[in-house]
Each structure stands twice: as C-alpha cells, then as structure tokens.
C-alpha cells in the first residue's frame, strides 16, 4: 500500500466517521439514511483499498444500494423526522 493510498484511506476513514456522526446528530431521518449510504460506500472503497474487490462490490450493491433502498422505502411508509 503506497503512502498515498494510506493517506487517502485516512481521509476516507475520517469522511466515514464524519458521515456516521452526521447520522447520529441529524433529526432528519432521510439525511441520516443518505449519510449512512455514504458511510457504506466509503466502506466499500476501504474494502477495495484493502484488496477485497469482491467484498467491495457486494458492499456497494447490498450495503449501500439495497439497504438504502429499503430504508428509504420504510421512511416513506413511516415518518421522516425523529421526534424527541
């Protein structure tokens, strides 16, 4: 792993954590779902960086794609905003 890739992955990891924190903080569940999709996508890239292309594809398709779709559908069905 070249140092460049390492720094890139550091940046991605930070992005992922930030995305996760956005999910925690936001009251808008749609934003949360989108942010979690971002997290999953970044995760897929990290998988790719870790030399796991199979997993990366699966993560992108299932983790980021399918899961997000299900979440969005459920949000449409239930409610979009978190009430405290």
């Amino acid at each position: 792993m070249a140092p460049f890739v390492l720094y890139l992955s550091l940046a991605l990891a930070i992005l992922m954590i930030v995305g996760a924190i956005v999910v925690v903080v936001t009251k808008d569940l749609l934003v949360a779902v989108i942010a979690s999709a971002v997290v999953d996508l970044v995760l897929a890239i990290l998988f790719y960086i870790l030399q796991a292309p199979d997993v990366a594809i699966t993560q992108a398709a299932i983790g980021a794609g399918l899961t997000t779709a299900i979440f969005v559908v459920v949000l449409r069905k239930t409610e979009r905003f978190e009430d405290d």
């Binding site: 949360a32 997290v39 995760l43 870790l50 299932i62 983790g63 899961t67 979440f71 239930t78």
Partner: protein, 132 residues
C-alpha cells in the same frame, strides 16, 4: 513533537490506526446510537453500523502490506500464490456477513413498519406494552 507526528503518520502505525481505529469507531458510534437514540430507524441504522465495523475489522485482519487481491492470474498460479495475495478467508466471511446484515436490517425494518402501523410512533420508549 514532530517526531510524534512522524510516528503517527508512518505507515506501520497509521495502518492499524485507520482501519482498526475506524472499525472500532464505527462499532462504538453504532452502539451509541443503539443505546441513546429513541427512534427505531436510527436504532436500525446503528445496528448496521455495528455490523459494518465488525466487517471492516474482519477485512483488515486479512490484509497484508503490499499484497494483491486473491484473484489469481497466470503468473500467480505458477508460484506459491499465498506469498503474493492477501488472506481471502475474511473476505469470504464478510461476504456472508454483509448478506446476513442486510437480512437482519430488512427484518428489523419490516417490524418497524408494523410497529408504526399499530403504535403510531417510532419512539422506542413508548413501545412497551409488554412488560413484567
């Protein structure tokens, strides 16, 4: 100080920090959401984060510096491929784990829909008709 920064950014230290660190961080953020957030959807997202954290950790333990993905081309087939590629087993495990994760999420969300239907709320602390 600069020495410390240098060590921090040296690959051998940075690697585990990034990958182990971010997997633990994902795990903890997910756990925090599960424990603190009242909204069922958020809790479900928290569960996926926990799982993603574990998945990332699993992939990380299979990684070896400077090796390639476990897809064997002609040249690799000749020698001892295990010297050239990363450990494929965690990848296979994570494939399974991802699919299981989406299954659990789907199940959770379908129950969430029913709960919203019957209780009219997604606040977990209001959903306790069954108790004691």
């Amino acid at each position: 100080m600069s020495e410390a920064i240098k060590t921090f950014f040296s690959p051998s230290v940075l690697g585990p920090e990034i990958f182990y660190g971010s997997s633990v961080a994902l795990f903890l953020i997910g756990l925090y959401m599960v424990l603190v957030k009242k909204n069922l959807v958020k809790i479900a997202i928290g569960l996926t984060f926990i799982e993603s954290g574990v998945n990332l950790f699993l992939i990380s333990i299979g990684y070896v510096w400077g090796k390639t993905a476990p897809i064997l081309n002609k040249t690799l087939m000749m020698g001892t491929p295990s010297k050239e590629v990363v450990d494929p087993v965690p990848q296979a495990l994570v494939l399974t784990a991802i699919v299981i994760g989406v299954a659990v999420t789907a199940m959770a969300l379908s129950i969430v829909i029913v709960i919203h239907d019957k209780y009219g709320t997604l606040n977990i602390s209001k959903i306790k008709e069954l108790k004691w």
